[in-house]
Symmetry: C2
Subunit: 214 residues, 2 copies
Amino acid sequence: MNPKFYSLPIEKQTAILNAGFHVFSQNTYKKSPMSEIAEAAGISKALLFHYFHNKKELYLFLWDTCCKITVEEMTRSGAYKQTDLFGSMDYGMQAKLRLMRKYPDIGVFAVRAFYEKDPEVSADIQKSMGQYLEIHAAKKLQNLDPEDFIPGIDLQMMYKEMYWASEGCLWEYIQRGCMNVDAMEKDFRKLLDFWKKVYLRKSREETRDDGKDI
Amino acid sequence: MNPKFYSLPIEKQTAILNAGFHVFSQNTYKKSPMSEIAEAAGISKALLFHYFHNKKELYLFLWDTCCKITVEEMTRSGAYKQTDLFGSMDYGMQAKLRLMRKYPDIGVFAVRAFYEKDPEVSADIQKSMGQYLEIHAAKKLQNLDPEDFIPGIDLQMMYKEMYWASEGCLWEYIQRGCMNVDAMEKDFRKLLDFWKKVYLRKSREETRDDGKDI
DNA sequence: GATGAAGTTGACCGATACGGTTAGCGGAGG
DNA sequence: CCTCCGCTAACCGTATCGGTCAACTTCATC
């Protein structure tokens, strides 16, 4: 990959990145033409080939930057430092939203690349995964105090359920095509509030008096 | 579309359907070649063109059968007749699982087709949507008795959250590529049990004694 | 304003893949 | 033996692909 890419104005750099993310997120690796990427980025195909020797190199570069960017944003958000569960979820969510605002298709690109089966790239993708995978660990659960939550609740299940719900919400926006990040943030925040009210013991105590009949 | 398609042995019919669902779910309409569909169905391209005059006809046929099949399965499941929320969710889930067992890619195909932008087919897709859209209505919420649930809970939010969680769970399987429907059913059932325990008032009453301290 | 380096592109190349057609194979039924 | 019918290999004209290259623009330097 040509280092001159980095001396491009940043808007053009992200334009190229986003064009790549977009095209590769819509189709298989083999069915994603370089010409389409160039057009989406607003440059000529020849220039795209000037920055990246071939399609494979561009693809793997996109994958690498995708991973790097995500990890950076997540660690920088402080989501991993926070000990409070909902707090760290909030920070993590904000980091994700910031990412999607700058790179609308990075999420879909990531999952497609991860499950890409084309032998020309799949091996390299899987090989580079080792470094990034353990970060997402769900060890969050280990240092949770059950006393904070409503009695008898399965904390692992609760966490899984919250993860799925936020993923489901996210996919609803993704599928729609146009990424309205502001509306997404509102929805996520409503989810967080809902969970706090339902799962946390303290907030339950406050409203418990209403329901002591029967 | 050639009516002789229907006189094929049913396994071959579903093989062709699934091949179409699969290929069209992986790529854009334009980037999904008929040859690939034929190969996935285990027949020659020429024969595929014998049953469907051209690509567009096959695509719209797939879309129509997709809608028809789904509506049939959902109404037949009794999910719409049930008045109990979790019961109807259970039935609906079972119907969905039955569908995905028979047509593993029908879900992804449906969303991709719905948001397909290719002018050759998008208009026809959108036109035929009118008939099917109102069925999915969330009027379930109207005849829910708040007394059944824990006090102070936002029922609409609860329903949305449950919907998102099941979608998120489903997408996790879908993205992985291989569709392990049995594992999916287990996960869904665990979700349902979890929700019942957390949201329903009755089940909360039973476990409340454990947590009356402070 | 001449010069040269750097940035950028339209046009091109060989190969392949596409949607769709057709001639013909093989088997069953008369 | 003929004929119908399910089915396919091979084919056709065209479009598209990854990748290259010569030439054009831009712009700083002298």
